[in-house]
């Protein structure tokens, strides 16, 4: 219990009084638009079920569980932009029959929502928002709305809107031939609209009471007579916020259906320890006056061959204490360059700032130019060039001043005068820890898990040449080994049966679907549930940098759980360019389900051309065009929002030339990725992250080899956009 309260405090505690938090904006005025206090049962700001024109503070990532007699909704929300709220939902809808007979009277359904605030509240004008609900799914919740919200008194807010589809009580029955998963554009704003409205009264600072009128008729839930729609259109709810991040709600739909909900919201600004708990850096040591150290200032020391090894050793030890590996160094009378590998700080500027200060403490006074080159797997990704006198002059001033004085340039891959620090390589790293594997979105078993122990080890023969692997042993869990679902046309029309592992393995022809698509991912459960040890990954990777702006990677071995082979990649990414291009080719063979080192017959060459762009406001975009695992050709678009502290939330979609029928349910591959740095939650400095990819469905179309160590994220930390975005920590 104590561990739990400690955790929640660390994860969720708000740290700054609201008045000050609001003032902490980079821009002079507060830019957040009308902010909602209550999350509705769909997870977005609103009444009980109806939407409002409210938003959440920018960057908020949250979740809601809302349960009532007509359904259970599990929502993940993200405030993508001050004016755009997005939601992903996985719901259990009661009263509907699934294709799978055994499931009883409910279906599991995924849906996406988006809300755009067109106008913010100003003077007499209300805030106005337009929203699309369940705009890509199978349509159970499909509806659209335009809504206006107005603050009447500081404690009373009213909203009025018109809705289409579900919000007008209409059910857009999915076309049985349709595989779903595509924007149903032609249905948007179709049918006859109906009104809805809500009033929210903030009774106390923590308690909000909501009354609303909804036009929802609960058609999908009630049309088969299995559930009854609420008897009235009026809904009431009470919501109690017991810490700025948690909210508990009780509500009734029409007075005869009751529900409860729990929601939480995290905001990147609300870290428990905003400045981190890492110890203070060693301060700058200014140089003595030239008269006090004429020899040091003359540079004559540089003729002494013992000078550099001695300085390099001292600096190596001091940097190691800061989590920085001094891989190599060059030193002359007036210039010193260190090549560091940052193993501790998530914001790379902090590594650079601490290294600069240590250099002022270790180097003789005649050295005026300090070059800090950042290495990633032996590749020199950028050099920050500083004048030592600027470091002395600007210590502990606004970070922007040293940014202006610093210069960021491409690093020379192999300058002649660089001396490697002895004794660093070969380097062996290992880690033994428990693992938890979670499988979501299986309608028959919505949460599957497996727990066990995992050993990871890496042996770096020289910078950039790394042998690494992992070994897992399951302890317990409910993940089992199973074949893919049997197509209903081969099973007398019955859906939901799976081939057993033995059946599937015995008949290799099953590894191609009836539509002729090789099963590259839909049999992924054949790789789970093993009670004997498994090797998820075992590779030899070689990273190199042929020119200043070009990076390469070759990886051979067991690349991932289901594929092994060779993967090659080239990336062009100048240190000062927000634009990058890359190419990747993989020749892979499908791994055996049971034999740790064995392979099956399926073999394929996949490849992609990629373009990457980093926008100045924290958004990055990526476009990959090429051939996927099942031999299908197409493109993947990824849009990610990144914060300076390392928070990352992104969405991707892949469309290939595979037809909707071949692809199956969902029509194309899409999902969201969330990655949060541990430092943000715990305060202690580490580059570890926690995160997950939520895919709407794992199918055979648009699937890629999941090879680790892709170049783009390796290279980018020390380059202009990311480095400057996180520059505020230079003097931390």
């Amino acid at each position: 219990m104590r561990a739990h309260s400690m955790l929640t405090r660390r994860l969720l505690a708000s740290t700054v009084p609201v008045a000050l938090l609001l003032g902490l904006g980079t821009s002079p005025a507060r830019t957040d638009p009308l902010i909602g206090d209550v999350l509705n049962s769909y997870g977005l700001p609103g009444g009980v079920e109806t939407p409002t024109a409210e938003m959440l503070p920018d960057g908020t990532l949250g979740g809601t569980l809302s349960y009532n007699g007509l359904g259970r909704r599990h929502n993940v929300i993200f405030q993508l932009h001050p004016r755009i709220t997005t939601a992903l939902r996985y719901s259990r809808v009661e009263g509907m029959k699934d294709h799978i007979e055994d499931l009883g009277n409910h279906i599991w359904d995924r849906s996406f929502d988006i809300r755009f605030q067109v106008l913010d509240e100003a003077g007499w004008r209300p805030a106005v928002a337009v929203g699309l609900q369940d705009f890509m799914g199978t349509g159970v919740y499909s509806g659209e709305y335009i809504v206006a919200s107005k603050t009447i008194t500081p404690r009373l807010r009213a909203s009025l809107g018109i809705g289409w589809g579900r919000l007008a009580g209409e059910y857009r029955r999915p076309d049985s031939d349709d595989e779903g998963g595509k924007p149903n554009v032609d249905e948007w704003f179709s049918g006859s609209p109906k009104p809805f409205g809500s009033i929210a009264w903030q009774a106390t600072d923590k308690l909000s009471l909501v009354a609303e009128y909804s036009s929802d008729e609960y058609v999908p839930e009630s049309r088969d007579g299995l559930e009854e729609a609420p008897g009235s259109q009026f809904n009431l709810g009470a919501y109690y916020t017991f810490n700025p991040q948690y909210q508990l709600g009780l509500y009734t739909l029409g007075g005869d259906v009751f529900g409860a909900q729990f929601s939480f919201a995290l905001n990147p600004r609300n870290a428990p320890f905003p400045s981190g708990l890492e110890k203070a850096p060693a301060p700058v040591r200014p140089r003595p006056a030239p008269a006090a150290d004429p020899e040091g200032w003359s540079g004559a020391w540089s003729a002494d061959p013992t000078a550099q090894p001695a300085i390099q050793t001292v600096l190596k030890d001091a940097l190691a204490d800061e989590g920085q590996m001094l891989e190599s160094m060059s030193l002359s009378a007036n210039r010193a360059e260190v090549r560091i590998r940052n193993t501790r700080y998530i914001q790379h500027s902090e590594a650079v700032g601490r290294t600069a200060r240590l250099m002022t403490r270790a180097l003789p006074p005649s050295v005026e130019t300090l070059v800090i080159t950042s290495n990633a797997e032996g590749m020199a990704t950028s050099s920050v060039v500083l004048k030592r006198s600027d470091v002395e002059r600007l210590e502990n001033t606004e970070a922007g001043r040293i940014a202006t004085a610093a210069e960021l340039v491409d690093a020379t891959p192999r300058p002649g005068d660089l001396v490697r620090t002895p004794g660093l390589f070969p380097r062996f790293r290992w880690n033994l820890a428990p693992y938890l594997d979670i499988g979501l979105f299986d309608p028959e078993d919505p949460l599957r898990y497996e727990v066990g122990a995992e050993v990871k080890a890496s042996y770096e023969l020289m910078p950039g040449l790394i042998l690494s692997g992992s070994l897992r042993q399951r302890a317990f869990g409910n993940m089992d080994q199973s074949g893919p679902a049997i197509p209903p046309e081969l099973n007398g029309g019955v859906r939901g049966d799976h081939y057993t592992a033995e059946e599937y393995e015995a008949d290799p022809s099953l590894e191609t679907s009836p539509e002729g698509v090789p099963r590259v991912r839909s049999d992924t459960r054949m790789y789970t549930g093993r009670t004997s040890p498994t090797i998820p990954e075992l590779t030899l990777a070689w990273y190199a940098q042929p020119t200043e702006q070009v990076y390469t990677r070759v990886t051979v071995g067991l690349l991932e759980r289901a594929y092994g082979g060779v993967s090659g990649e080239v990336l062009w990414k100048p240190a000062n360019s927000p634009l990058a291009f890359g190419a990747e080719v993989n020749r892979v063979k499908k791994r055996d389900f049971d034999d740790m080192f064995g392979f099956r017959d399926y073999e394929v060459t996949t490849g992609h051309l990629s373009a990457y762009y980093e926008f100045a406001n924290g958004f990055t975009a990526q476009l990959d065009v090429g051939k996927y695992l099942a031999g299908d050709k197409g493109a993947t678009v990824t849009l990610t929002r990144e914060f300076a502290n390392g928070w990352r939330v992104g969405a991707f979609a892949t469309k290939t030339d595979m037809s909707d029928e071949e692809f199956g349910n969902g029509s194309f591959d899409k999902g969201i990725t969330i990655s949060l740095p541990i430092t943000w939650a715990a305060g202690t400095p580490t580059r570890d992250r926690a995160g997950s990819t939520l895919r709407s469905l794992s199918r055979d179309g648009g699937a890629r080899v999941d090879v680790s160590g892709r170049l783009y994220d390796k290279v980018r930390d020390a380059q202009s956009v990311k480095l400057y975005q996180g520059w505020g920590r230079f003097w931390r």
Partner: protein, 222 residues
């Protein structure tokens, strides 16, 4: 049958928990959020226990005793610092000097950066002040009355350095020799007090930030 299974599961849970993360791997790993959460919580608890144990062992000492011992043991310039919100008073020793700016550190490697007695920044406290730019400094040192702007920059949770700016009035305090600096901004207000002596600020009580609160500073050895 079921019992055995549960038994076995419980046993392996214990085994798994027992091996909770050992190794020497570099940072930058992707970990399962739930496991990380568990590890973070475990770390927090053991850190708390560690704190308690350390406190229990150290005999309770008065600030005077701490000052006397530090002056005897440490030849460096020293200040006695009280962090009111942390309920902690400690002696900090100078570890670096850059012009008029001095960095004082505690043995636990937390730092207070002062410019001849004026708080410029803090490091390692979790809610650090990155840099203070007190436009009032000259008025305070001279003991004159007037108004000026004070900008305080903080490390914010989203990884940026964000400024808070305050309008401040400097004037004499109720007691002779005390200069008060009253600041207001962003719906918050605070009051710093100084006892300037010949332009130096040997004794003061200064506001370091919304979470850190007030810090009292007394120069033990200049």
């Amino acid at each position: 049958m079921t019992t055995t299974r549960i038994h076995r599961a419980a046993l392996s849970t214990l085994l798994i928990a027992g091996l909770a993360a050992c190794g020497n791997q570099d940072g930058g790993q992707d970990a399962n959020p739930l496991l990380i959460a568990a590890r973070t919580a475990a770390g927090g608890v053991s850190a708390m226990r560690g704190d308690k144990a350390a406190q229990a062992q150290a005999p309770a000492r008065t600030p005077e005793q701490m000052a006397a011992e530090a002056l005897r043991v440490n030849p460096a310039p020293l200040v006695m610092v009280g962090f009111e919100s942390l309920g902690r008073t400690q002696v900090m020793a100078m570890t670096g000097q850059n012009g008029a700016m001095r960095t004082y550190m505690a043995p636990s490697k937390e730092a207070l950066i002062l410019r001849d007695g004026m708080v410029v920044g803090t490091r390692g406290l979790g809610h650090d002040l990155s840099v203070a730019e007190p436009g009032t400094e000259a008025l305070i040192r001279a003991g004159r009355s007037g108004t000026a702007r004070r900008v305080m920059r903080y490390y914010s949770g989203d990884g940026l350095e964000r400024p808070l700016s305050f309008d401040c009035t400097v004037g004499p305090g109720p007691k002779p020799g005390v200069v008060l600096e009253s600041c207001e901004g962003h719906g918050a207000r605070f009051q710093n007090s100084f006892m300037p002596q010949g332009g130096h600020l040997p004794v003061s009580r200064q506001w370091a930030g919304p979470k850190l609160g007030y810090v009292t500073i007394q120069v033990l050895r200049p």
